[in-house]
Symmetry: D4
Subunit: 147 residues, 8 copies
């Protein structure tokens, strides 16, 4: 069985590449999906649909274009890994977690211990909490290759 893993959340560190590299080293039977992680491109995703908007409606247009991608990927993945970093609000990551929970789709969170308390509702529906990409890949290895 091949597994599809969606990597949601923080876009300012290279955690996705770490996970992909480690998974490749172990030759895990997994594919990775991710949102667009180019911050500027993401914010501008709807600008070509008429570029006069600023503020709310510019964000609205762009975030809906992005949602075409993220909604599909969340629904098609077998597991989501949802990363919360040290900065920014990252409400989109928590939104993805809620979306997974409602669909009964398993997800793993990846965050430091210091934000355990504000993430308690998100972790309550998670299948695991990891603090490092090594741990995430170990979960993937166990789940996809053990017998």
């Amino acid at each position: 069985m091949h597994w599809v893993v969606y990597l949601s959340g923080e876009i300012h560190t290279d955690w996705r590449e770490e996970i992909k590299r480690r998974a490749a080293q172990q030759e895990l039977p997994v594919s990775f999906l991710a949102p667009v992680t180019d911050h500027e491109a993401s914010d501008a995703a709807g600008d070509h649909l008429g570029n006069q908007e600023v503020g709310f409606w510019r964000d609205h247009k762009s975030s809906k274009v992005n949602a075409i991608r993220t909604k599909n990927m969340v629904e098609q993945c077998d597991i989501a890994v949802i990363r919360f970093g040290h900065q920014y609000k990252q409400w989109n990551a928590a939104f993805d977690a809620g979306y997974c929970a409602a669909l009964n789709k398993p997800y793993v969170t990846l965050h430091d211990a210091e934000i355990v308390h504000p993430l308690k509702e998100v972790d309550a529906s998670a299948m695991a909490w990891a603090e490092s990409t090594e741990q995430v890949v170990e979960i993937l290895r166990y789940v996809t290759t053990m017998s």
Copy 2:
């Protein structure tokens, strides 16, 4: 038709009471549901189930007990109002928004203009963005009483 409205999110200001009061003044055909908003009680919701835990597992127990309530209320409401304040991470509020979105359940966000950008994914699936409780109640009045 009677409407059930779930009031999700921020627990440190009296926005829920404002909405309830204004709705009562206008005699709207609505009932309100809400999570437990007593912060200390909420954090301690699972303590009676063996109280030795600290950190992650204490939070885990309590947030799961709270989730019994919030999950039911989200699923039974006709509309959710999801409030984001100025402080705290409030990932639980974004989690509820994602849960609603996956269930195709209409929700309205209530937050200031200054956090429009980080909330763009949450607002992308919302039916409306309000900046004041007056606006929320005006939406409820329109939706539930106009003909």
Copy 3:
């Protein structure tokens, strides 16, 4: 068994009142739901959420506020009656029909013979096509009171 009937579509004639009056005369065990039928109020439903928009975004805001109501009503009704008149595009009515079809929710169309051809896809998923409010009420009478 009490039946909830959603009356979707045309807002420029009094077909809803005719159906309600006839159903009341026959004391049918039905309640009626409807979208907001005050055209100007409907177009302005989102104006109070910041009124600077014109064109697409004004319509967008208002139609989403209206959708809070219509989506709930479509999902809660037992039958929808969907009316297509002689004027206007009425794409909202066809949209409601598609929404019902995907939910496996029974609906009846109400329209003249001259628009049978362009409505063929909408009628293909309908449980009946009526040309008059008398016929609609006769369907309701049969369905809700015969034994």
Copy 4:
């Protein structure tokens, strides 16, 4: 990830071919599905099932045969593009939009600015509104190939 795109709506202009050509030029990882766009063949799709009917029942038979195809394609696509042209009622296109909305399936509308107002309910549930096939393909490019 390969994407399946359903092209719904207007059949009297070559917008589908434009989209396919532009997508092929950019080598996007997409496949396209569409309803039968041969108008006469579509109207006659059920004639071989006994050909005596005229009017409503001829249309009924044919539109149901067509619906075997369109219902499957809507349910299997990852994105729908729904085109509204200048002519005809095109209620089938709005019907498809409602069907998508109920399934929580992302769709993009393609239409001119002059019909923004009558399409406001259809656009309210859309992920984007495009005015040109270039814009549609730019959305597809962004969604399917960015990283």
Copy 5:
């Protein structure tokens, strides 16, 4: 807990009345729903929607009007009792059984031993097979009143 029981199938004997009478004698907490059992009225249910049709399309119109009722009742009941008599094809009864099975809705069949073999697929998804109305009511009594 109050139970809603849908009585599907044969319309030429008084099995429904027997079940209702016995249930009333025992004061069971149940309500009964049923299709229209007046055979002529049922066959004519769509005649008022233009009465020129004969054969297939007359049957089609009427059976769709009836389906508004039966589909709703099947979906709202807690248990269906599906009766197969000695005469007629009664494919509508088997259709209701399949509909229940797909919805994971419990149903009980009521039929004589001599048609056990042709009903084996219908009975395979049933929760019980009864040969008499006494047995059906005994099931209802047990399920709704025991503690």
Copy 6:
């Protein structure tokens, strides 16, 4: 797009082979699924699970083993063709039709005109009624190959 077609119903004539042969001649992009059509094998499908039963329980065991297959095939097909012949009760065919209807899965019926009346509820939810295998294959050709 490749289509999966489930051929349900009558097992005493060669209608399945006719459909397969005609579809092959036209090189249609379709695969066919079917229940086990060897009548004796089907009746005996559960005998190896302890062979002491007779009557109801023998039928029960065998029909459940068969249902493992038929339930999966109905759920995985894109279209079902449901055949009613001249003999036997064929309640399993009507059961499959109801199962499809509840799942919103398109199906086509194949039967002679003389049994239109008893099949009216089954035909009411069908996308087409065909009287010959030629007609069925013509539907498949149109649906799967037209553009």
Copy 7:
């Protein structure tokens, strides 16, 4: 909001009465549902449907009659409490837990610490583990009456 609580599992101790009594003392807004807890009656639930069977088929008939009740109650409850005692296999309790988990229905387990290990998969999907009826009622009090 009134809450419906299903009490699943062990039938040889009076834990259900304890929960009901404590909930009544605190006047909690809850109703309780339960399977039939009269062991002999439960085992004999299908005997009146022909009483010749012994062994597997007797159990089969009775457990299906019981399932009419339990399946409905599980689907209609807001919370399930699932009790595992010291004796017997109690696979029905674990079955109910799995049923709840697939439906995304919150449940609480009630069992002693000594069986934590074999119940780990059941507890993994539970919202809480309680060791006493006091704890269960405290959860109910918190969830249903706090504000």
Copy 8:
């Protein structure tokens, strides 16, 4: 059609290998999925996520990691085979059965006659009860290769 079979339950005998070997001998068109059957590895599946826990929380972490795998496999299989052995509580096996039942997913049980009575609720929703791996493979052969 290729079939995916999930082998749930007992991990202390070689029943899975027997089934796989027999299926391979007969070249059945089936793939097999299974939970991790290395007991110690399974109990330790979450230890790398911080290893300080003992008792409930250690089990909790590990069983959730395992559930990422089992939940996905149950949802993706076409048939589950659920084995109950002579030892241990095996509540996870009954949990999987309940999960399958709620999803309307066919499953077969594999157990000795002496535990028929405590397994009656699990068997009530099963498509078959087998006592030997030969019988299971015979079911698979019949279901997947007969015509």
